[in-house]
Symmetry: C2
C-alpha cells in the first residue's frame, strides 16, 4: 500500500506561499468552531485546506498558535464600519445608534463570524492572552464607540441621562443573545433576525429617546 501512488498525478503542485496561510486559517476556523480546539485534528485541517499536515507547520508553530491566529485574524474587519459611524457628521445620535446596532447584527450575528464568539467563550480559560487581545482590540473599543454616541445624544438633548445610557453593555445586550441563540438553538428554533433587530431597536429607542 505504501509508496503506491505517484503523489500528485493530476493537479500540478502549486506554490502559494501567499495564499496558504489564509486557506489554512479558513479551514481551521470551520473545524475549530465545529468541534472545539482539542477535538480538532490538524490532519483534518490539512485535508480541508488541500495540503499535507506538515505544511501547516511551515506557517504556524503549534496548534495553539494556529488557534490564536484563527481568532485574531477573524477580528480584523470588524470595527472598521463601526468607527466609521462616528464620523457621520450630519446625522443625529439616534440614527447613528440605529446604524451601529444594525451593523452589529449584519456583521456579527448574521454571518459566520459569530463562530468566533463561540471559540472565545469555549476556550477563554485556556487562552487568556487571546481574551486580553480581544478585550483590548475589539470589546473595549466597541464599548467606547457606543459610549461616545450615548454621550453625544445626552449632550444634544436627544437621549435621557440615566443608568441605561451610562452602561453601553445594556444597549447591545440583545444582539449578543441573538448571536448565542444562533450558535446554539438555530437548528431547533430558528430566529428571525429582522424581527429581532426591529424589537431590539424598538426597546432601546423607546427607552432612551426623550
Amino acid at each position: 500500500m505504501r509508496m503506491s501512488e505517484p503523489p500528485k498525478p493530476a493537479t500540478r503542485q502549486r506554490r502559494r506561499k501567499e495564499e496558504r496561510p489564509g486557506e489554512i486559517l479558513a479551514a481551521a476556523l470551520t473545524l475549530f468552531s465545529e468541534r472545539g480546539f482539542s477535538a480538532t485534528r490538524l490532519e483534518d485541517v490539512a485535508d480541508r485546506a488541500g495540503i499535507a499536515k506538515g505544511t501547516i507547520y511551515l506557517y504556524f508553530q503549534t496548534k495553539e498558535d494556529l488557534f490564536e491566529a484563527v481568532v485574531r485574524d477573524a477580528f480584523a474587519p470588524l470595527l472598521e464600519r463601526l468607527t466609521g459611524a462616528l464620523e457621520l457628521p450630519s446625522a443625529n445620535s439616534a440614527v447613528i445608534l440605529r446604524f451601529i446596532i444594525e451593523t452589529l447584527y449584519r456583521q456579527m450575528v448574521a454571518t459566520e463570524k459569530r463562530e468566533i464568539l463561540r471559540l472565545l467563550i469555549a476556550e477563554a480559560k485556556r487562552f487568556p492572552t487571546l481574551v486580553s487581545f480581544y478585550h483590548r482590540e475589539a470589546v473595549s473599543r466597541g464599548k467606547a464607540i457606543v459610549a461616545e454616541i450615548l454621550r453625544r445624544g445626552i449632550e444634544s438633548g436627544e437621549f435621557r441621562d440615566g443608568p441605561a445610557t451610562r452602561y453601553p453593555e445594556v444597549i447591545i445586550g440583545p444582539a449578543i443573545l441573538a448571536a448565542i441563540w444562533k450558535l446554539v438553538f438555530e437548528p431547533v428554533d430558528p430566529m428571525d433576525l429582522d424581527e429581532m433587530i426591529e424589537a431590539h431597536l424598538d426597546l432601546v429607542l423607546n427607552s432612551i429617546l426623550k
Copy 2:
C-alpha cells in the same frame, strides 16, 4: 514499583452507591467547564472525586454520557423560582418582570451555573440532543413565562404593545451578555452586577411602561 503500596493506608474504603454519582458529576462539572469536553481527562475527574477511574464507568457508560448528565443535572433547580413568579397574584406586571430579571441575574449570571452556558455553547454541535433538551426544558419554558408576563402587562394597560413586548428574547438579552461577560472577560475587566441589573431594569422598564 508496582505492588508497592498498601492501597488505602489511612481512610478506609467507603461504599457509597448513593453519593458517588453526585460526587462524580460535581467533579466533572468543574473540570469540563475549565477545560472543555475533549481536554478533560477522566482520570482527573476521578482524582477530583477521590475515586479510581474505573469507578466512573460503574455509573456512566461513556465520557459523552457523563457530559450529558453533568449538563442535564445542573439545570434542575433553575426554573422553579421563575414559575413561582407567575403565581404572585397581587403584584402588578412590572414588579413581576423586575423579579424575573433579578432572579435571572442572581441564579444564572452571578453563580457558577453560568458555566453551564459555556458548556452548552461550546459543545452545541457535538451534542444536539442536549441542545434539544435544554431548549425544551429550560429555554422555551423561560420564554413562555416572560411572554405571559408581557401579555398580562399589555392587557392590564401597564405595558405598551409593540415589537419589544412581543419578543421576550429582547427583554432578557442584557442578562445573557452579562453572563457571557463574566465567562470571558471577568479577569480582564470585571463587571459590577448590581449596576448592570439597575441599568438593565432601567432600560427595559423605561421602554415598555406606558
